[in-house]
Amino acid sequence: MTTAPADGAPGTEPLAGVRVLDLAQGIAGPYAAKWLGGLGADVIKVEPPSGDPARRAGPFPADEIDPEASGLYLYLNTSKRGITLDLEDDGGRELLRELAAASDIVIESFEPGYLAERGLGYEALRERSPGLVLVSITPFGQTGPYAGMPADEITQYALSGHMWLTGDPYRPPLKNGGSQPSYQAGLNALAAAVIAYLGSLISGEGTHVDLSAQETLAGMLELYGPFASQAGIQPKRRGNTVSAIYGTYQCADGYAGVYCLPRNYENMATAVGIPELLQPPFIDADERLRSNDVLEALLSGWFFQHSGKEIFELGKSHRFPAGYVATVEDLLESEQLRERRFFAEDDHPRAGAIRFPGHLWLSSEHDWRTGRAPTLGQHTEEVLDELGVSASRREQLRAAGAFGDGGAS
C-alpha cells in the first residue's frame, strides 16, 4: 500500500469545507478541534480576551512566562484561526450566534448551563443552522448530582476506576503521567464530533453531544470493570507485573517490558535462550504459573544483561511482544517515526524550533495539516470580514468591549 497522499490538492481533505468553532479551552476541546483542523476543517478558535489558560500553562522557553510561547497551547491549537470574543458582552454573544449559524460543529467545555444562561444554548445556536453539532465536554456531564462539580486531572482519575488500578499494591494508588483524563475526553470528543457530523450530513438534523470525562474513562477498564460487574471480582492494582511473562523489568540501561500471552511464550523463551525455560515446569502454562516467582527471577537476571533496544529488537526478530520504556528523546530519534513522518516541525518566532506529534494515522487519501497556532486575536479582523461585519458595526462592537482589550485593533 502507499501511505503518501494520493492527491494532496487543496479542498480534497476529508473535512474540507467544514467549519468548526472551538470555544473550549485547556486540553480536551482544543485537542479534538486541532485534529479536525488537521483533517482540513476551517477551525475558528474563540478565546476570551484574557486568552486560553493553556497560554499560561507552559512549558516556556527558559521558563519565562510568555502567552505566545506556551508549549501546551502551541501543541493543542495547530491548524486553527484565532479570534477573541467576550461572551459576557451582548455584542460578543451576537457575533457568536452569527458564527454558529455559519458553522457545522461547535465544541465547548464551559460549566453546564454557562452557555444557556447567556442565550447561547444548543437550541439558540442551531436556530439558523439546524444541522449544527454541539459537543459539550465536562468532567461529569451536563446532568446528574456531580454536574458542575469542580474537578482536576487527579480527581477525575480517582473517580473513574483507573487510579485504583494504577500503581504498586503496597503504595498509594498512582495517577498516570501528564493529563490523561483531559486528553481522553478530547480524543472521545473528536470521535463524537465526526460521528455526529456524519449523522447530520445524512439526516440534516444536528445533535447535542453530552460528553463526560468520567464516562469516557469508565468505559475503558479492560477486563477489570467488566469482571467486577459480571463475576463480582474485586481487582486491585498490580504494579508493573501481572505475571512473570507480563511485566516490566529493570534492564541494562533503564526499564523494558515483556507482555506475552501464553501463545507467545515459546517464542520469548527461545529468544531469551535460557534452556530451562523450554523445559518443565515452565513450558506448560499452568505449571508455569505455579513457578511464577522462579521464572520472574530468571527473567530479571536476563533483562539486567540486555539493553531496552536489544530486547525490543529480539521481540521483532522472534515475534513476541517486548518493548522498552521510551522517553520523548528516544521517540524523537526513532527511525520508525522519522520514516512515517510522525513529527511536525516549526521554527516558531517566540518558542524556537519545536517538534511535536503531527498525525493520528496515515492515509492514502489525505495528509495532515499542522499549521502554527494563532496568536491571541490574530484572525479577528479576517473572520469579521468574512462574516460581513461592517466597519461602523465593528467600531460599535469594539467600543462596547465585544473583543476585550485590543482583540480587534
Binding site: 500500500m1 462539580m149 480517582a158 470521535a191 481487582p235 517490558g257 521510551a326 520508525q336
Partner: protein
C-alpha cells in the same frame, strides 16, 4: 419519544479485529449504528473469548460469555469463515463487496500473508475503506514488531512519565494503548466515510497504535524542545499546585484525591477541615507558598482525611467547591450514584450467564435510547443469517461449509489458556 436514528445506520463493517484495540474501535461504530460483522474462524477465533476460562467463564459454551469479551463486542454480529481456505476467502470477498469498511489489527504482515491485502480488497469493492491497526504501523523498520497495550504505552513515551518519584516507571492499570488506538481508528473510519461521500473514493488507512498514544503527551515534546528536559515522575503531586495528592482515609487502602488550584479552593479546604485559622497561615497564603510548604501541608490534610471515610471527605469538600474524588474501587464505580442517575450502566444479558451491568454510551446524544441492543454474539451465531441472506448461499451450501470446517460455532484446536486472570487467584 422514540430513540433517534443512529448516525452510522446503513454502514457495514467487515471486522477482522481481535483482542481489545480493534474491537474497541468497532464497539464504538456498532454502538452508533453500524452493522459490524465480526469475522472469526473455527480455528482462529478472537482470543478474548478464551483468555478467561472456566470457572470464571461460565456456561457450556463458555467461550461466548466472559465479561471482557462481552463488554467490547456488544451490538455486533458473528460470522465464522476460515480465510485460509479458498471457499472461505471467496465468501469473505463477497462480504467485502457488500461492506463499506474492512478493519483489522493483525501484525503488519498478516493480511498480505492471507492474500487479502488492500489491493485484493479493492478488487472486491473499489471504494472500500481499509483500516489496519498494526502496533507500529505497516511501514518502517519496526513494522514487524508485535505489541499489546502495555508495550504500546512504553513505546509511546507515556510510561516514562508515570511513577512515584523513585525512578521506576509505571504502567497504567489497564492496557491503555488499546482503547486509545480504538477511538482513533473509529475516528479514521468515520472521517473516511465523510471523505468518500464527497470524492467517491475509498482509502487505505495505516494506523500505528503507538502514534495516537504519543499524541496524548504533546507538552512533554515541547518541554524537550524548549528546555532539553524530560518531565520527572511526580507521583501524585503537581508542579503547579498543592495540596495535590491522594490522601489516606479511614479504613484499609481507602483514599481520596484532592487538588487545590486557587485561594478560594484553599479557603474551602480549610473550612472543610474545621481549621479556618490555616487561611491566615503565611506558609499557605498563596499558590506559590503552598507549593513551597507542601511538606508541611500534606500531613495536615492527611490527618484530617485519616479520620473520615473517603465518601465523608468527598461530601464535605465538594459542597465547598474543592476538587476532590474518592479513589473508587470497581464495585464502587459500578454503584456510583452520579453514573446511576445518568443511566450510564445498562443491563446486559446472556443466556448462559444471566444479567449484569455493562457500560453504555461513551457519550450521550439527544433521545439516544439504550445503547446496548444485543449482547456480544456467540461464535458463528449469525452464520446462517449472513451467508444465506447477504451472501446468497443456499442451506445445502451452508451445511457443506459447516461439514468442511470453513464455518463453525465451536473453537477448534488447542485452547489458549488464561494466564492473566489465573495469576490473580
Amino acid at each position: 419519544m422514540s430513540p433517534a436514528r443512529r448516525p452510522l445506520e446503513g454502514v457495514r463493517i467487515a471486522d477482522l479485529t481481535a483482542m481489545w484495540a480493534g474491537p474497541y474501535a468497532t464497539m464504538v461504530l456498532a454502538d452508533f449504528g453500524a452493522d459490524v460483522i465480526k469475522v472469526e474462524a473455527p480455528r482462529a477465533w478472537d482470543n478474548l473469548r478464551t483468555l478467561i476460562r472456566p470457572p470464571l467463564a461460565r456456561g457450556e459454551h463458555w467461550w461466548n460469555s466472559n465479561a471482557y469479551f462481552q463488554e467490547y463486542n456488544r451490538n455486533k454480529r458473528s460470522l465464522t469463515l476460515d480465510l485460509t481456505s479458498e471457499r472461505g476467502k471467496e465468501l469473505f470477498g463477497r462480504l467485502v463487496a457488500q461492506s463499506d469498511v474492512v478493519i483489522e489489527n493483525f501484525r503488519a504482515d498478516v493480511m498480505d500473508r492471507l492474500g487479502i491485502g488492500p489491493d485484493w480488497l479493492r478488487e472486491q469493492r473499489e471504494d472500500i475503506i481499509v483500516v489496519g491497526m498494526a502496533s507500529f504501523g505497516k511501514t518502517g523498520p519496526d513494522a514487524s514488531a508485535m505489541a499489546y497495550g502495555p508495550v504500546v504505552e512504553q513505546l509511546s513515551g507515556l510510561a516514562s512519565l508515570t511513577g512515584y518519584g523513585d525512578g521506576i516507571p509505571f504502567k497504567t492499570g489497564v492496557s491503555y494503548g488499546d482503547p486509545v488506538a480504538g477511538l482513533a481508528a473509529a475516528t479514521a473510519v468515520v472521517t473516511a466515510l465523510i471523505q468518500r461521500r464527497r470524492t467517491g473514493r475509498g482509502q487505505v488507512i495505516d494506523l500505528a497504535q503507538r502514534e495516537p498514544m504519543t499524541t496524548l503527551i504533546g507538552e512533554a515534546f515541547m518541554e524537550w524542545a524548549m528546555n532539553g528536559r524530560l518531565p520527572p515522575h511526580r507521583g501524585n503531586e503537581s508542579a503547579a499546585m498543592a495540596p495535590h495528592n491522594a490522601y489516606a482515609c479511614a479504613g484499609e487502602d481507602e483514599w481520596i484525591a484532592i487538588a487545590v488550584r486557587t485561594d478560594e479552593e484553599w479557603a474551602g479546604l480549610c473550612s472543610a477541615m474545621g481549621a479556618p485559622e490555616l487561611v491566615d497561615d503565611s506558609r499557605f497564603a498563596t499558590a506559590q507558598s503552598r507549593l513551597e510548604h507542601r511538606a508541611d501541608l500534606d500531613p495536615l490534610v492527611a490527618a484530617w482525611t485519616g479520620a473520615l471515610t473517603k465518601q465523608e471527605a468527598f461530601e464535605r469538600l465538594s459542597e465547598r467547591g474543592v476538587p476532590a474524588g474518592p479513589v473508587l474501587t470497581l464495585p464502587e464505580l459500578l454503584g456510583d450514584r452520579h453514573l446511576a442517575t445518568r443511566g450510564y450502566y445498562e443491563e446486559a444479558e446472556h443466556a448462559e450467564v444471566g444479567t449484569w451491568a455493562m457500560h453504555g454510551w461513551l457519550w450521550r446524544t439527544t433521545d439516544a435510547g439504550p445503547c446496548v441492543l444485543a449482547p456480544a454474539p456467540d461464535l458463528g451465531n449469525h452464520n446462517r443469517e449472513i451467508l444465506g441472506g447477504l451472501l446468497g448461499a443456499s442451506d445445502d451450501e451452508i451445511d457443506a461449509l459447516a461439514a468442511s470446517g470453513v464455518i463453525g460455532d465451536t473453537p477448534v484446536g488447542e485452547r489458549t489458556r488464561s494466564e492473566i486472570l489465573a495469576s490473580r487467584r
